[in-house]
């Protein structure tokens, strides 16, 4: 028993990214509790996350990847795909921690718990992305979410933060309860909580169909809430606006990545049989209209915002719509198409992570104490006064817009071309996607127009860029990856393809 549970030492290697982040989180708690003055928690947390991310990136290539201990295997997949998600999550979380290091210090909000929350939430996200059991899905989801709720409400003196946090918490817990009820129904219908067992039972036709369909709908609703797809998006703008900007960054990249990761895994393992993956009767019938509505509403609502943070919130809703197109493509019975779609979604999320960090990071960089840049007016003329601080912003919005040769362009390209390759059934969705991204171009370009072509109103408060090595480092790193993934995407997409073929 002992040997089978623990396995050999080597079998723990694929779990190292997870363990490193967990141990790092506890180390942060201890350092924060025992040191009187402000220890460099930002450095510590980002180093831990980047180390875990780098390790996961190496493991994602398949080198040195061995099966995990048998006690872990039923609950967590630690193959190439999970390692790819780990790398993406750690990258997003590490960059958010760097941004926090600059932002919290500048705005006199520095308290140690923020970094511990980032690290523990990232741990939850990694568990969620690797989960192969309804139980580990729930634990990962809640570990991630509870940290994020606290991060949103972090600014104690701000009613907006408390309100954003409260709204997110209430709706998030409601969604989690719905997801849980769905999980319990699926367990009842199939007798299994492990995704593989559920999938087997669904394919064999042993499952109680009524319970199963209801459970599947509730489970998928809970997950699409986390990616903020329409109609479960109401919390997004409020939570994004109320939160401190590094927390917004974290939410927009890490939470979305983990939720899409588990959505892909649940669909591919449990619901890929012909009945439940049918475009008319199965989950694609629910997700396809959601994807269309998400793209349309996200883009049109973003175009109407005067606050840049709210605009980026709606833009993140719109991006969830584009990624959902890739998820819907999994209805296809063609293995080739499915792998292209999965790798497209993986690439998209990595590209979205670095692009969004770039946009939010620039927004942070353009403001300073008591002069935070939040509206378009705050940005007016900032590009001419401080070109170096505005340049990453331009790169970020271009990539979010999908302008070649940035990473964002290729992300959209891969996802949409997979949808087209699946046949004519999704053509309408791709057309909706392309047309709505034209609307997207309007509000992204508006940022550039304000940065370089407008002048501040006479007498208006002028935002002054902050100086912080942390923020500069985060911007340089994410900017580098936005360009590198756009110019030489081959290594990344190959990695995603090879991971997608294994589904581990």
């Amino acid at each position: 028993m002992t040997a089978s549970l623990t396995g050999s030492m080597a079998s723990w290697v694929p779990l190292m990214p997870l363990l490193l982040v967990a141990i790092g989180g506890f180390a942060l708690l201890v350092v924060d509790a025992l040191s009187d003055e402000h220890a460099e928690l930002a450095t510590l947390s980002s180093v831990v996350l980047f180390c875990a991310g780098a390790l996961a990136a190496v493991l994602a290539t398949g080198k040195g990847l061995v099966p995990p201990p048998s006690g872990v295997a039923p609950y967590l997949a630690v193959g190439q795909m999970s390692q790819f998600w780990n790398a993406t999550i750690c990258c997003g979380a590490g960059l958010s921690a760097l941004l926090a290091g600059g932002y919290l210090h500048e705005h006199a909000l520095e308290r140690g718990e923020f970094y511990a929350l980032i690290v523990f939430s990232a741990f939850g996200a990694m568990v969620l992305a690797a989960a192969t059991d309804l139980l580990s899905i729930f634990i990962g989801l809640e570990t991630m979410s509870l940290g994020v709720y606290s991060m949103v409400a972090y600014r104690r003196g701000s009613p907006r933060a408390a309100e954003g946090g409260l709204k997110y918490f209430l709706l998030g817990s409601f969604a989690a309860a719905v997801l849980l009820f769905g999980s319990a129904l699926i367990y009842g219908a199939t007798g299994h909580t492990d995704l593989a067992g559920i999938g087997q039972s669904v394919r064999d036709g042993h499952a109680n169909l009524r319970l199963l369909i209801l459970g599947m709908l509730m489970l998928l609703s809970g997950l699409t809430f986390k990616v903020s797809a329409v109609p479960f998006h109401m919390w997004t703008p409020d939570a994004y606006e109320g939160a401190v900007t590094p927390a917004t960054t974290f939410m927009s990249v890490v939470v979305k990545t983990a939720a899409f990761a588990v959505l892909l895994r649940v669909i591919l393992t449990c619901f890929s049989d012909e009945l439940s993956a049918s475009l008319r009767t199965g989950w694609p019938g629910m997700l396809a209209p959601m994807a269309a509505a998400t793209m349309i509403l996200g883009n049109f609502a973003a175009a109407r915002q005067a606050n840049v943070k709210r605009m980026l919130a709606y833009s993140s809703i719109a991006h969830a719509g584009y990624i959902l197109v890739g998820v819907v493509t999994l209805y296809s019975g063609d293995e080739q198409v499915r792998q292209t779609a999965v790798s497209g979604v993986m690439f998209y999320l990595l590209a979205y992570t670095v692009s969004n960090v770039l946009a939010f990071g620039s927004l942070i960089a353009l403001g300073s104490y008591a002069k935070e840049a939040v509206s378009y007016e705050d940005l007016a003329g900032a590009g001419r006064r401080h070109p170096l601080a505005a340049l990453p912003f331009v790169l970020g919005v271009l990539s979010l817009m999908g302008f070649p040769p940035t990473a964002g362009f290729l992300g959209k390209w891969y996802v949409f071309s997979a949808a087209i390759a699946s046949g004519n059934d999704l053509l309408w969705l791709v057309i909706v996607g392309v047309l709505s991204s034209v609307v997207g171009a309007y509000y992204y370009l508006r940022v550039i127009v304000y940065l370089f072509m407008k002048s501040p109103e006479p007498g208006a408060a002028i935002a002054v860029p902050m100086r912080s090595g942390y923020v500069v480092l985060a911007l340089v790193l994410s900017g580098y990856f936005v360009l590198k993934m756009g110019v030489t995407p081959a290594p990344y997409i190959d990695l995603a393809l090879s991971a997608a073929s294994k589904l581990g």
Binding site: Y149, A162, L170, L180, P237
Partner: protein
């Protein structure tokens, strides 16, 4: 009358429904929190009931343990956020938390 799986499921669904309706209808945050607890506990009932009729393993009961623990953590975080809002706005009504709309 024999108490069967269907009865447990009906009870669980009713409790979940009461929780869901309570959450959506009531505007007092504390009542909404209680409604969420109700929903989570209805799931526990269902998990344990399913496990009773599918006794090959203890997956359902195991699940219920974790739900209990996580519900407590969730309540702690939720109440902390409610307190932080109450200190600033002097209200526990989610309708009056509307600064962000303006």
């Amino acid at each position: 009358m024999q108490i069967e799986l269907g009865h447990y499921l009906s009870l669980s669904a009713i409790v979940f429904g009461i929780g869901a309706v309570g959450f959506l209808v009531r505007r007092n945050v504390l009542v909404q929190l209680m409604s969420i607890e109700l929903m989570l506990n209805s799931v526990n009932l269902m998990l344990v009931a399913f496990n009773r009729y599918m006794p090959d393993n203890h997956a359902g009961q195991l699940f219920a343990f974790f739900v209990i623990a996580i519900a407590a953590a969730e309540a702690a975080v939720g109440l902390a956020i409610v307190i932080s809002m109450f200190r600033l706005r002097k209200t526990v009504h989610s309708d009056r938390a509307d600064t962000l709309r303006h």
